[in-house]
Structures are given as C-alpha cells and as structure tokens.
C-alpha cells in the first residue's frame, strides 16, 4: 500500500472540488427521488377520481381539497418537528381543542379582547409544549406516555372551561356580546376570497409551511434537530443542546396545533369541547406518508405537505363518489401502510445499489 501522508497531497486526492455544493445538491436529489413517488401517487389518485367522477377536476373541488388539508397540514408540520427529533406527540389534537375552546370562552363569555385572546391561546399551546418537553427531557418519561396523558388532561380541560357547551361568536349566549369589529376580524382570518372562494386558511398553511421549512431545512436549529433525532446519544456527547431542542420541538408543535385550532374555529365558526380530537390519526398518517421516520432523524416539510395533500385528495374524492364513510377509513389505512412499505422498499433498493 502506498504511504502518502502529506496533508496537501491527500487533500487534493481525497475530496474532489466538485463536492463544494454537493451537500445541498445531493440532499435535494435524494429528496426529489423520495418525494417523487409521493407526488406521482397524488396525481394517479387524482386522475382516477377525475375519470370516475368528471366533477372532480374543477377548480372549486381543488380549492376545497386545499381547504380540507389546511389544518391537518399545519398540525402535521409541528408533528414533523417532534418526530424528526425522535419523539412522539399524541397531544396536538387536544391542544388544538383547548386553544379553540379557551379562545371562545375568553372572547365570548369573558369579553377578552380578541387579539389578546389569540395571544393567550397561542401561549397555551406553547405551555403545553413546555410541559411535554420538560417531562420528556427532565424526568425521562417516554414521550408516547407523557403526551398520551397530556391528551386526556387537555380534553378534560376543554370540557371544563367550555362547560361542555358549543360556542358560535355570531350567536353569543344571552347576556354576552361580541363586538362587530372583532367578529369580522376573527372570521376575516379565514375569509374566502376571489371567484373560487379561496379560503385564507390555505395561505396561512403555506406561510407556516415556509416558516417551518426554513427552520427545518435552512437553519442551524433544523440541522441539529435532524442530528439529534438521528443519534441522541452521540448528540449529547457532541455537546449539542439536546434537551433544549427537544423542548423547542414540542413547543413549536403545541403552538402550531393551537394556531390550527383557532383557524378552524374561525372558518367553521362553531367550537365544541371534542373539536379536532379525530384528527390525531390523519395528522400522523400525513407525516408518515410524507417520509418522516418514527425512529427520528428523517422528515421533510414538503413530504408532510404531500402526505396531507394525498389524504385530502382521497377524502374529497371519495366523498364526491359517495362511497360512504367506511371506504374513506379503509383507504386511509391502506394508503398509510402502502406509503410506508413503498418507502422502506425504496430505501432498501437505494442502499443496495449504493
């Protein structure tokens, strides 16, 4: 074996210059390959629906697909951060509920200023994240258990603060009043604009996706989040702020869930204690279909959006075909399993050829 120990000689020989920008380039390529399948699947599903039901391929239906995915996608963005760092959050749906319900109670029953009430509701979401994060990182309770507990705890809180009643700011209970200007501000958050009734909630989703996308893929925070999720023990030894970043991931997840809850409240205009609870599994499905690994260290914002889009396409399409709710549930199950199976297969193929 030749012994070339001169550093300069080695440098030129070992790492070609072309790899200067390759880090980002290759990551993008890999992402494209992995996500390519997902978007092909969305197109195929869309094509099948258009064939079966020509009404599917209209702008109005597409807009309603986007609307249908908005709140799921916003929650899924937060969940992606938690899953990338190698933890699980089961409580986001209850956070969604507590945020919407406490907003309603503060605003409608107690006359709290809407702007202030929104801030408090977001703070509640953050507080839930801090609570989850502290229990997971300081007491080392598995996040699955912590957040399962938080889920029930928060649902109980929602029942308590709302006194198990339904609220609609347009029709406040007798003896209470909602200022007209505040009402129009609140409903204006998700106002439908343009000739196709494009809800502003879609733009909230896109805006938040840009923010989370920047955090996860373009910031130091996201880079370390991925590293920590990939190997928490090595991250600790490398002195990365493991605990702080895990807590931050839970906080962002809580805040995004609270935001989703309020946006849906604004759009639907009614809120009841169990609002959002049924979105737990669709949100998880969106993240997993999007290619995030439950083992941590892997997940993308584009993937998660794609997962949410695929689910919304399926839900809307099946509803148009009027196949009945059982088929929707079954398709959700089949798609989740197939997506993960395909991803595993693709990964295996990739490592074999590499």
């Amino acid at each position: 074996m030749a012994t070339d120990l001169t550093p300069s000689g080695g440098a030129a020989a070992t790492v070609p210059k072309s790899s200067r920008l390759a880090l980002a380039g290759r990551a993008t390529l890999e992402l494209g390959l992995r996500l390519g399948g997902l978007f092909v699947a969305i197109l195929v599903v869309g094509a099948i629906f258009s064939y079966l039901q020509p009404a599917f391929l209209t702008v109005d239906v597409l807009v309603s697909v986007l609307r249908a995915m908005a709140s799921v996608a916003i929650m899924a963005l937060g969940l992606t951060l938690v899953i990338v760092v190698g933890e699980i959050d089961l409580s986001f749906a209850a956070t969604y509920g507590i945020a919407a319900n406490s907003l309603a109670v503060m605003w409608i029953l107690h006359g709290v200023d809407i702007y202030f009430a929104i801030l408090i509701a977001l703070a509640i979401g953050a507080a839930v994240g801090v609570f989850n994060g502290l229990l997971v990182t300081m007491l080392r309770i598995p996040s699955f258990i912590v957040t399962l507990g938080t889920y029930n705890l928060l649902y109980g809180f929602s029942l308590y603060v709302s006194n198990s009643s339904t609220f609609n700011p347009a029709y406040p209970p007798t003896g209470h009043e909602v200022p007209k200007s505040e009402l129009s501000f609140f409903t204006g958050l998700t106002k439908q604009v343009g000739s196709h009734q494009l809800s502003l909630e879609i733009f909230w989703m896109l805006g938040l996706a840009l923010v989370v996308g920047f955090l996860l893929h373009r910031s130091l925070f996201g880079f370390r989040l991925i590293a920590i999720g990939g190997n928490p023990a090595a991250a600790t030894l490398a002195r990365l702020p493991v605990r702080r970043y895990k807590i931050l991931a839970f906080v962002l997840c809580g805040v995004l869930a609270a935001a989703a809850g309020m946006l849906d409240f604004s759009f639907i205009q009614t809120v009841q204690p169990d609002i959002g609870l049924s979105s737990t599994f669709p949100v998880f499905a969106a993240v997993i279909i999007g290619g995030a690994s439950l083992a941590g260290g892997r997940g993308t914002v584009v993937g998660t959006l794609g997962g949410a889009l695929l689910l919304a396409t399926l839900t809307t399409g099946l509803a148009l075909l009027a196949v009945g709710p059982f088929a929707q549930q079954m398709f959700l199950g089949i798609v989740t399993i197939c997506a993960v199976a395909l991803d595993l297969f693709a990964t295996k193929l990739q490592t074999r050829t590499a």
């Binding site: 074996m1 012994t3 120990l5 550093p7 080695g10 440098a11 030129a12 070992t14 790492v15 070609p16 210059k17 072309s18 790899s19 200067r20 920008l21 390759a22 880090l23 980002a24 380039g25 290759r26 990551a27 373009r218 910031s219 130091l220 925070f221 996201g222 880079f223 370390r224 991925i226 590293a227 999720g229 990939g230 190997n231 023990a233 090595a234 991250a235 030894l237 490398a238 002195r239 990365l240 260290g297 892997r298 590499a354």
Partner: protein, 508 residues
Amino acid sequence: MSPPAESQRFGIEIRGLRKAYGDTRALDGLSLSAESGEVLGIAGPNGAGKSTLIKILAGEEVADDGQILVGGEPWSPSFAAHRVAVVHQEPALFPNLSVAENLLVGREGTHVLRPRLRREDRALMDELGIGSSARRPLSLCTLAVQQRTEIARALARDARIFLFDEPNSALTQEESGELFRELHRLADAGRIVMLVSHRLSDLVAHTARVAIIRDGRETALLEGVRLTQEAIAHELVVEAEHAERAVDDARAVRPSERESDGSRAILRVSGWTHRDGRFSDIAVTVRSGEIVALVGVEGSGGRELLRSFAGLERTQGTIEVDGAAGDRPVRRRTAYVSATRELSLFTNLAVGQNIIVRLGPEIAYGSVVLRPRQIARLARDAAGRFLVKCRSIAQAIRSLSGGNQQKVAIASAMAKRPRLLVLEEPTRGVDIQSKAEIYRLLGGFAETGNAVVMFCTEVTEVFDAADRVHVVSDGRLSEPLVVADYDRIEALAREISKLERHGQTLAA
C-alpha cells in the same frame, strides 16, 4: 453438577476458519484445537478476530470458509449436541425474567402450561450457589450471579464446550476467584473450556496453553515453561513488518521530540474523585504539546477517569482546562470521542455534515441561517486535512471504511477547536494505515499548543502515539512512564503489565 454421560474424551478442532466483513478480513484461516478437560487460553489484540471467533462458535455468525470438528465429526452451531456455551463479559440473558426462568427459556418442554422448574434444575442452581436468588429478576442480580446463571443455563442444556469471554473483567477479586474455581470444575468434569482474556496473569494462572491470535490467525501457542506473562506480552505486541514501517512514519513526528517542559498546563486536576468510587484523589497535569495515555484493565477505573475529563462522570475535585475552571469554560475547551462509532457518528447525516455537526456560529449567520457554502468549504477542508478517503463529502457516512469513519469522528471533535482532546481507544477497529495517519494528526494537534488524553487498551497504541503513560489500577494512577525511555515495545509492555499487577496485589 452432573458429570458428563460417559468418560469419552473428545476435542474441538478448528481448521482454516475464514470470515470477512466487506474488505476487512476478521478471520484469515484461523486454526485452533482444544481437548476435553483442559483450559485453553486465547489472547490477542483488539481486532484480532477473537470476537468473530466467539460469534461463529455461538452461532451468531456463519464462517465464510473453514471447518469445525468436534470429536472428529464435522460440527455446526445449529447442532443440538455439543452446543457451545458462551459466558459473556456482559451476560446475554433475559433481564426481565428471574434467574430460574432464565434457566427454563428455550427448553420449557410445554406448549400450553407455564413451564415449571424440575428437580435437576434446582439442584443445579444450588450447586452453583444461585439457588437463593432463583426468584429474583435477573436485572437486580449482581454480575457474578448473572454469569452463574449463564453457566447454569448452559449446563442444563448439557453444553460440552464453554467459552469464557473476558468473564472476570468487571468482577471483584473474590468473585473472580469463585468464577475460576467454577471454570476448573467444568474442565475437570471433562468439558472443553476456553478462556478469552486480556489479563495476562489470569491466563498464566488458569490455563494450560495459550493461543495467540493476531490478524485473524493463530500466530503462537505457548505452553509449559514458555507460558509466562512476558512471553504473552511479547507475542501480543510484535507487529508485522509492514505495520511497523507505517507506524514509523507516525513516530517520526512524535511529540516527544518537541520540548514540552515549561509549556502551558492544558489539563490540571487535583483531588479528582469519582462519586461512585471508581477512582479517587487523582492529581495529574497535562501540558501543551503532550499526548498522555491512560491504561487500565476493565474495572480499573481508567475508562471512567478519561470520561470524567470530558465531564461525563459525576466527580468531585478541581479541574482546570487551559487555565479555566468551571463547568461551561471546561466544556467549551474539551472535546470527547467515544470508543464506539455508534456514539460518535450520525448515520442519517453525510460525511461532511458529520464533520461540522458540532459547530454553531461558524456554520450559520447569527447562529440561525445555515451557510451551505461555508459548510461545504469547512467540511471539504477538514476531510482533506484528515485524509478522509471519500468520493464526496455528501456520501453516506456508512459507506466509508472503519478507519475513515474514525477519522471523521476525530475531525468532528477537532473542528470545534478544543484545547484538550479526550479520546477513548482512538483507533479501535481501525486498519494499520489509518492508525498511523490518526497518530500523525493527533501529534499535529498537540504540536499547535494543545493536548491529548487517551484511554488505550493496546500497548502498541501507547508506544506509537503517546509521550507518557499512566497505568490506572483500582482507581489509582501510577507514576508516569515516559515512552521515549523505551526502545522496544516489549520492555514498555512488561513495565505496564507490572504496574497493572502491582495494583491488583495491593487490592488483594
């Protein structure tokens, strides 16, 4: 314990065993033989192929080539008869089950009912002195009881071949005495017993013959009057010709040739005591330009002492790194690399990302926005400087060879520009060429006003890379040996093993 069914003598013969992992040849035509009733010692440096041999005999791995004969008949680990029982350093049992249940797993003899302990099983446990712990969950038992459970499990399955893998490295003096009595009883009852150990004194005291394994082959067999600690030490450290030449290059820039007196103290500890008593009242100073090795058998406290310098153990006493005291300043000035690459590398990140993973402000504007060009530049520079052989820094870290992975791990630690590098077995499982390169890099690092402390299990590593070496035994630090005082590695090895023994006799 039940005597073997008949008094027939039999032996195990291993012929030309080969096993490769990718490009690495773990076993390269290994041949060994052992007779019933004897204790065969097996010794070899790290990476010599001992653990591969154990895995093959235990049926965890399949050899690429070669033959294993037991009693003259071809044998494979899947045969129920003549099963090989491995008694591990860390017993491989079911920690959630009780001692008795561990004995039963796999031979329950029932498909429906909860399995029950037979009378022979009870007798066996009593004989091994674990009858009183029968109902205790294994996870709450001492290591010695766990090992006995492993032995009992093997005896209950009528295993004829026992392989002890560093069995007493974490046992107390008394416990290991017990263990060796057990080992001899097994041999006296006509079983084949093999003992893999790093402790030369144990090999000499408890075995009739010692086979030395190096580079996947048996290189020497010591018995009778030739079986002495010095002889084993000699066989262990004699390196092949080509290896010596590669390392000579590394020695050419050894820091010992630089003057180190009068230079700044990089690490200074005093009254340094482990909270759980693994070491106590250590005082040591490491100056800039120095590479200091710590050596100690498993359980001596050496590994813990090293980790404590990186703030990874609970300690009392004072520590100063580059003149700074206090938790944060010390942490900022030290970087640690673990012995296992599972704990130093991120497999979901590329080569380049692994190199810069410890950096913060250097790779992001305002510690927020990543700078991809800067990252690629830093990573490429470091990969070049550390002679990491890769096609591109965007390559998956797992596609690199072990030696290059280790270079990435060390590069990552050095990227943070620490003053003190704390390394645990810096070249474990690394090929000889990469070893020499790593030693050169460490020398270069120390030369620029820094210091390196490393924990070593191989004398060759001390001889090739360190300026001085402290032997840790029973939580105490020996006086340093200056490596430059030794022309030949055998002399250094003898001195080190003398100091190790000294500590053991003190404890006894």
